[in-house]
């Protein structure tokens, strides 16, 4: 091993992924620049003064490049060795936030490092959880078919999520559900994934789509399935029962369970908030709890400003966009948090549908490449890790873009490698470069 690395430092490194990484970070800086630039700003001055967000992001990127290089220069065995230790450290750090945490934007999930830098352990825990899961699943004594192994794996993945929820970081918590995908790849029953995805889609759909239309759609889907399976049904009548049961459950969820949760379990303001995340009004008079409490309270119009402005910015881009630095919504600062969570809007407005397709194409290419990398590993550790990274990327991309176009409630999740922010960029860099390091040693069996 040592000799092969002596030949060339970068042997076995997948340069396609490195180039993709570079391209995405560059697009990110460009997008942040578009958000911040005001007519008359002197370019050279602002970049080198380091006062603006895009110049800071350039600094972060340079730092991340150094970190990435270091990771490539390490030994793959380091990661298997440190997997469990880092996971425990991560969990301890997360627990520590409850004691010494700093409150930023209403979530007490940051540890002040001094010098104006803050660390968010939950962000780092993504890496640690991925490593720990890979480590656990790659152990020869783990037989993943056993239900208790599955539960333990789920526990490893979900413990940081639970802590994140306690820190009021719903978005970060949701990310950990991404670990269902590598678990599925490793033999978790498909039904769990199907049911989990279906349930998630159904809940969001019942928020977004008008109830009767959704019921109609569900019925239509059920009919299509029955028609498609008509031959199988002739042989086995139970399929009808299963499909009908699934239909009843779905419609029940949509018509009864979701409204019940919003009207009876949650408080009025919570329901309103969730509805407004997808750009909808919630009628508080339906809420039993608030009805009991105060009837005379005037219902404030829900604030769907974020989604509305985000949709306007993206929608006004058209097919080819308004052009570089010509986005009126971007320049007018109509979209809140545009350089972080809503960075996609600046791209959508300036470069339109074509630009969005290109970016999503880049992402999809990266995701496929990572899965391809996963499949070519000899060691389970590397494969599970590759799937974990792909899933985390996928989850971030899907949720972030969906929320900017009104397909998902607004949760604070950054767009990988593009959103402004050192923490987030560093996390994704580390995730990706560890994968590159492991992939470079794909012939090796790691334990």
């Amino acid at each position: 091993m040592a000799s092969s690395r002596n030949n060339t430092l970068a042997k076995g490194i997948d340069w396609t992924v490195v180039w993709l990484y570079g391209a995405l970070v560059a697009v990110g800086v460009l997008c942040i620049f578009m958000v911040e630039y005001q007519t008359g700003d002197s370019l050279a001055g602002t970049i080198f003064k380091g006062k603006t967000n895009y110049s800071k992001q350039i600094l972060f990127a340079a730092f991340c490049a150094v970190v990435g290089m270091f990771i490539v220069l390490t030994d793959s065995k380091l990661f298997t060795a440190l997997a469990n230790l880092s996971y425990v450290t991560g969990i301890l750090l997360m627990l520590a936030t409850f004691v010494i945490g700093k409150n930023i934007n209403g979530s007490k999930s940051w540890i002040p490092l001094g010098g104006g830098f803050n660390l968010q352990p939950a962000e780092l825990c993504k890496i640690f959880a991925a490593l720990a899961l890979a480590k656990y699943l790659s152990q020869p004594e783990t037989i993943f078919k056993k239900i208790q192994s599955q539960l333990l794996a789920a526990a490893i993945a979900l413990l940081p999520a639970v802590l994140s929820i306690l820190q009021h970081e719903l978005g970060l918590a949701l990310v950990y559900t991404a670990f269902l995908i590598p678990m599925y790849r490793e033999g978790m029953p498909a039904q769990i994934l199907v049911i989990a995805i279906s349930f998630g889609v159904l809940v969001i759909a019942s928020l977004i789509i008008e109830p009767n239309l959704l019921a109609g759609l569900l019925t239509l889907i059920a009919m299509i399935i029955l028609y498609a399976l008509r031959k199988a049904i002739r042989r086995n009548k139970r399929i009808i029962t299963i499909v009908i049961a699934a239909w009843v459950l779905s419609v029940g969820t949509q018509r009864i369970l979701v409204p019940y949760i919003f009207n009876n379990v949650l408080e009025c303001y919570q329901s309103t908030r969730i509805y407004s995340m997808v750009g909808k009004d919630y009628d508080c008079s339906l809420n039993k709890k608030s009805a009991k409490k105060a009837k005379d309270k005037t219902v404030k119009k829900p604030d769907d400003y974020n989604v509305r402005q985000s949709k306007i910015a993206i929608g006004s881009g058209g097919i080819f966009g308004k052009g570089f630095l010509k986005g009126t919504q971007t320049r007018g600062k109509y979209v809140p948090a545009q350089h972080t969570d809503f960075i996609f809007t600046s791209l959508g407005e300036a470069f339109g549908f074509a630009g969005c397709c290109l970016l999503l194409g880049l992402y999809l290419f990266l995701l496929f490449r990572m899965i391809q990398m996963g499949e070519r590993q000899r060691s389970t550790f590397s494969r599970v890790y590759a799937y974990s990274v792909a899933s985390i990327f996928f989850f971030h991309i899907a949720v972030n873009v969906s929320m900017t176009i009104g397909l998902f409630p607004i949760v604070g999740i950054p767009l990988p490698l593009i959103s402004y922010g050192g923490s987030s960029l560093l996390t994704f860099t580390i995730l990706l470069f560890i994968l590159l390091r492991l992939d470079a040693d794909r012939q090796m069996v790691l334990r």
Binding site: Q309, G332, C356, L364
Partner: protein
């Protein structure tokens, strides 16, 4: 294990692809198939600012600007940035108290919000601007913003120049397709209104990007969709602003009107309606108050008495009767009439005449003999060749109508009235199917139903001066950049009076009018060294007082032109209820003619006369009573307000004394600001109406 689940890798890739596809579908839906987001973005972020061009400037005949634009400043504030200022210091600068400051801030925040600039104090006076400009750096959030307003540097000719005002709904309805918007300004009276199209210029549009708090961020698309504003065209008036100012001074504390025309062009040299007002009072930040004051004045200062009042022309009408009589041949210059004290032709003893004796045409005009012109008028209507009085009257009206009487002349000012030349139909309604010359004999001396405006009388003088032709009287001679809308065409047409009138008739009339100034009624008003032709008039008039019609003091009337050869000025003057024509109107006209023809008033006697005429207070008795009544009403009202204030203050003090025990000293509010009362000393001056009196510049010296 890995081999066992390898197909799942493909399934996961499939899931990724499907999710990305769903996102792409929604993106296509938003970006390609929904037009509403583009519209929403436009209305969000593009702000169309209308750029108002400078209005055109109006110059007088000597190229002096009489209506121009000046830049004045508004004090603007961004409430969000104005925190932590030395409020008391700013209030001291602005001479307001902190309560007022807070109130204005509150109103502004309500109106324009925290982060957009709003007008804290509009239209700063020059002193205030100077004071603020030096100190403004101390107060964050405050800034000065300039705007263009109309300015009348000579403080004269308010009635003629008019003013601009915000358009109202009626205006918008009438001018629907001319691009006016609510909040725009347009000329509402005078030349500002008539020549609105010329003066307004063309508005421009500038597109800005604005941010989420409606602050402007810069140009939209580098100004690609902007259109430039084009300034309004300047106009050159026939007015002589020095003459206008002098006429306004002479009409101080009088009610009436002066119109002077250049007979050779029809251009108006001066036109005064007294009482007049300083047009600058209707531009500043106090305009609403001044407007209300002027509107409530019993002398009706907004009324342009030169063109909007019909007056009986009195004896000046005899010039017309004489000319028609001579033309029709019912008399000649040697024809004489003897007056025993009254007109004998109708047997009613009316009208009376002042000078008894026998007069030929010239003397009859000079002494304004009523019997003579009653005889002429009766002869005109009795002519056998026209068979009936009806048709004879129609012939008379044809002649008189060709002098521009009985219909609007078409001056370039709005709301002109046309006077009245009563027709036979008019009289048939009164006297039944047949009427006789004696029914309407009063018209012979301009006291009957016949009515004229001052403009018409001045124009008649111009016609006599020109011996039979005139140009339509007008104020604007030319427009810079050409008369694109054809507004001046009608002023370039030479108009002839009835061609049946021979030139000798005009000569006879001119000689007679010259006699008026030399041996006749206006001999005292002769202009030294200049041959003037004039005619006095003394107009009986009546007013309804407490439901009863009462005879009032006569209107003083005078019309003239000069010099007799090569006439340069034709003038008509009326002073309401000021007695005989020779007492008030004739001297004023004489002084104005001297000023115009000789460029100044020379000689001590003439200067004394000028001072005498300026200082004469000839406000009609009825109006004076009305003014005193209004005045005392106002005083009473102000007294009551003052009293209420004092009582409130007392109550407050008592309350404070009851509550505050820490010995805080209560200072009563300063009350050294006297209510501005423009009418308090109206015997000597008329407040804003006669700004000319106090700071009178001796125009005749110039």
């Amino acid at each position: 294990m890995s081999v066992f689940n390898q197909s799942r890798g493909k399934i996961i890739q499939f899931i990724f692809a499907v999710v990305v596809l769903v996102i792409l579908i929604q993106l296509a839906n938003l970006q390609i198939f929904s037009a509403k987001y583009k519209l929403a973005a436009e209305s969000n972020a593009v702000y169309r600012k209308i750029i108002y061009p400078d209005r055109g400037i109006i110059f007088d005949r000597n190229r002096k600007p009489i209506l121009e634009n000046i830049i004045i400043y508004d004090l603007m504030v961004v409430p969000a940035d104005a925190r932590g200022n030395d409020t008391a210091g700013l209030c001291a600068l602005l001479q307001i108290d902190t309560t007022e400051y807070k109130k204005r801030m509150r109103d502004l925040i309500f109106k324009t919000g925290m982060v957009r600039p709003g007008i804290f104090e509009p239209m700063l006076s020059p002193e205030m601007f100077a004071r603020l400009n030096e100190n403004l750096y101390k107060f964050s959030g405050f800034s000065l913003s300039e705007r263009s307003v109309r300015n009348y540097p000579y403080h004269a000719a308010g009635h003629l120049l008019g003013y601009i005002d915000e358009v109202d709904t009626t205006f918008l309805r009438v001018h629907k397709d001319e691009g006016y918007l609510m909040g725009d300004y347009a000329g509402r009276t005078g030349l500002e209104r008539t020549y609105e199209k010329v003066l307004m210029g063309r508005r421009g549009v500038k597109n800005y990007i604005r941010d989420n708090k409606s602050r402007l961020q810069g140009e939209y698309e580098k100004g690609m969709y902007d259109t430039a504003a084009v300034a309004g065209n300047n106009m050159f008036s026939s007015l002589d602003v020095e003459l206008q100012k002098m006429a306004e001074e002479l009409m101080t504390n009088k009610v009436g009107s002066v119109v002077a025309i250049d007979p050779q062009t029809g251009g108006i040299l001066c036109m005064v309606s007294a009482p007049t007002f300083d047009p600058n009072y209707l531009t500043g930040n106090q305009r609403r108050k001044h407007f209300a004051e002027l509107l409530n004045d019993p002398r009706k200062p907004f009324n342009n008495r030169a063109i909007q009042n019909n007056y009986s022309p009195g004896s000046t009408f005899k010039t017309i009767v004489g000319i028609i009589g001579l033309s029709e041949g019912v008399i000649d210059e040697k024809f004489t009439v003897t007056c025993p004290g009254f007109f004998t032709g109708c047997g009613t003893g009316k009208p009376k005449c002042l000078d008894k004796g026998t007069f030929a045409f010239k003397e009859a005009v000079a002494h304004s003999d009523n019997s003579y012109f009653s005889t002429v008028y009766k002869r005109l209507l009795d002519q056998p060749r026209y068979k009936t009085t009806d048709s004879a009257l129609n012939v008379f009206n044809t002649y008189a109508g060709s002098f521009g009487l009985g219909k609007r002349l078409g001056i370039d000012l709005p709301s002109e009235r046309g006077g009245l030349l009563p027709t036979s139909d008019y009289y048939k309604k009164i006297y039944g199917n047949r009427f006789f010359p004696c029914n309407i004999i009063s018209n012979a001396i301009g006291q009957g139903e016949v009515n004229t405006t001052m403009l018409q009388m001045a124009n008649v003088m111009a016609i006599i001066a020109n011996k039979g032709w005139y140009y339509t009287p007008h104020l604007i001679d030319s427009i810079e950049g050409g008369d694109e809308n054809g507004l001046l065409e009608s002023f370039k047409v030479k108009r002839w009076v009835d061609k049946r009138i021979p030139a000798q008739v005009f000569e006879a009339e001119q000689n007679a009018m010259q006699a008026v100034m030399e041996i006749g009624t206006a001999a005292a008003s002769a202009v030294p060294g200049i041959v003037v032709c004039g005619k006095t008039g003394t107009v009986e008039n009546y007013a309804r007082v407490n439901g009863r019609v009462e005879k009032q003091q006569d209107h003083s009337f005078f019309s003239a032109f000069a010099p007799k050869d090569n006439p340069k000025i034709a003038i008509a003057v009326i002073c309401e209820n000021a007695g005989q024509g020779a007492w008030a109107a004739a001297p004023i006209a004489s002084l104005l003619m001297e000023k115009y023809l000789k460029d100044s008033i020379t000689g001590k006697a003439r200067k004394d006369k000028y001072d005498l005429m300026v200082n004469k207070n000839l406000i009609p008795k009825l109006m004076r009573q009305e003014m005193i009544k209004n005045d005392s009403l106002r005083k009473k009202r102000e007294g009551e307000i003052q009293k209420a204030k004092e009582e409130k203050l007392k109550a407050n003090q008592q309350n404070a004394a009851g509550k505050v025990t820490t010995g805080v000293e209560m200072t009563p509010p300063k009350n050294n600001r006297k209510p501005a009362n423009p009418f308090s000393t109206h015997a000597k001056s008329e407040g804003i109406l006669s700004s000319t009196v106090e700071k009178r510049k001796k125009t005749y010296n110039s």
